[in-house]
């Protein structure tokens, strides 16, 4: 259960992006792939213990490109083989992301 560590890192990155003197965070959007090693459900449960901002999670699809036949396939974490020819030598196109995508900020006058 390392999602709390990940949440702390996320809050740090979000605050950095907002700026030290910036308005409060309203929302934080992350993109998480199935091979990121982070569980979206656990992250969503841990987040409110650290911040009142909304946590929005975008699920990144898991896709590979086959080195043998060049086909791109949607795959699962347990089976990354090419869905066209079955070869296991595939290259990950996406699905291991663990990214802070964007932050939303409160209207400044609401907090003056």
């Amino acid at each position: 259960m390392h999602e709390l560590s990940v949440c702390r890192a996320l809050l740090r990155e979000a605050m950095r992006a907002a700026g030290a003197e910036g308005p409060p965070l309203r929302s934080v959007t992350v993109r998480i792939g199935p091979l990121s090693g982070v569980d979206a459900g656990l992250l969503a449960r841990a987040w409110p213990t650290l911040s009142a901002a909304d946590l929005l999670i975008e699920a990144a699809p898991l896709r590979v490109s086959c080195e043998a036949c060049g086909t791109e396939s949607a795959v699962t974490p347990q089976d990354l083989t090419c869905r066209a020819c079955g070869d296991w030598r595939t290259r990950l196109l996406g699905g291991d992301e663990l990214l802070l995508v964007r932050i939303g900020l409160e209207a400044e006058d609401a907090h003056v």
Binding site: E13, Q78, W88, E106
Partner: protein
């Protein structure tokens, strides 16, 4: 002002959205790169050992240290509690620093950096980091290591790579340990474990090893020596 993308944000009248697109663990990545630079400065090969609890990481080190006398070894031990593993390593005459993480289920780059302050890298050729026994969390944190070695003990079952794909995809080498138990574990198939590894797209070589009986130790040592030679070649080149 957003430091990450350089955009200017002045939300005076309404809510604003700011595109960021940074890695969540950007801070850890910076510290990991810093650790790696230390290792490279002193020509030290850093190997991160990961596995489930009880797969035999410390036993592997206890078999490796006396067999690799041509190599000056140091060990960083990660555990939730106790100095037991570091004490086992020190008994073999090599320096060991214990990190006790308390409740944390993984090592991160900052913990390793702190431990490095107690380790004389000039006196080492090879540094093992024995991560906290856990097949989930340690995979997400770069420590600054050059290579990841994942141990899979025969008592755990041959479907482990499919159950923990993130961890096994991170492996540069997979060691199937406790092979001396093979006669009693007829439901574990090395072929099935290797096939599960290929299915998750891993090209990592697999070595069967018994720390107790010595089977496979020579192949493991040969892998370590080849990695050390590669590191030296990289250092000489650049």
């Amino acid at each position: 002002m957003c430091e990450s993308c350089g955009c200017s944000i002045t939300p005076r009248t309404g809510p604003a959205e700011v595109a960021v697109l940074t890695r969540l663990l950007a801070d850890n990545d910076v510290t990991a790169a810093h650790n790696r630079a230390h290792f490279d400065d002193w020509g030290v090969l850093a190997v991160n050992l990961m596995s489930a609890p009880g797969a035999g990481k410390t036993a592997l080190l206890e078999a490796t240290i006396p067999a690799l006398r041509d190599c000056r070894i140091g060990v960083i031990e990660g555990d939730l509690e106790t100095e037991n593993d570091a004490a086992r390593i020190r008994a073999h005459g090599v320096p060991a620093v214990q990190i006790t993480t308390g409740t944390a289920c993984h090592l991160d780059a900052a913990m390793v950096h702190e431990a490095l302050h107690e380790m004389d890298l000039r006196a080492l050729d090879l540094l093992f980091v024995e991560n906290v026994g856990n097949l989930v969390c340690p995979a997400a944190f770069d420590l600054g290591q050059h290579r990841n070695v994942v141990l899979l003990s025969m008592t755990e079952g041959d479907d482990k790579p499919a159950k923990y794909p993130v961890m096994f995809r991170a492996a540069d080498l997979v060691l199937i340990t406790k092979t001396d138990l093979a006669p009693m574990l007829d439901d574990f198939s090395v072929e099935r474990a290797s096939a599960a590894l290929r299915r998750i797209g891993s090209e990592a070589p697999v070595i069967n090893i018994s720390a107790r009986r010595g089977e496979g130790i020579e192949r493991w040592l040969a892998w370590l020596r080849a990695e050390r030679a590669a590191r030296h070649a990289a250092a000489a080149a650049g």
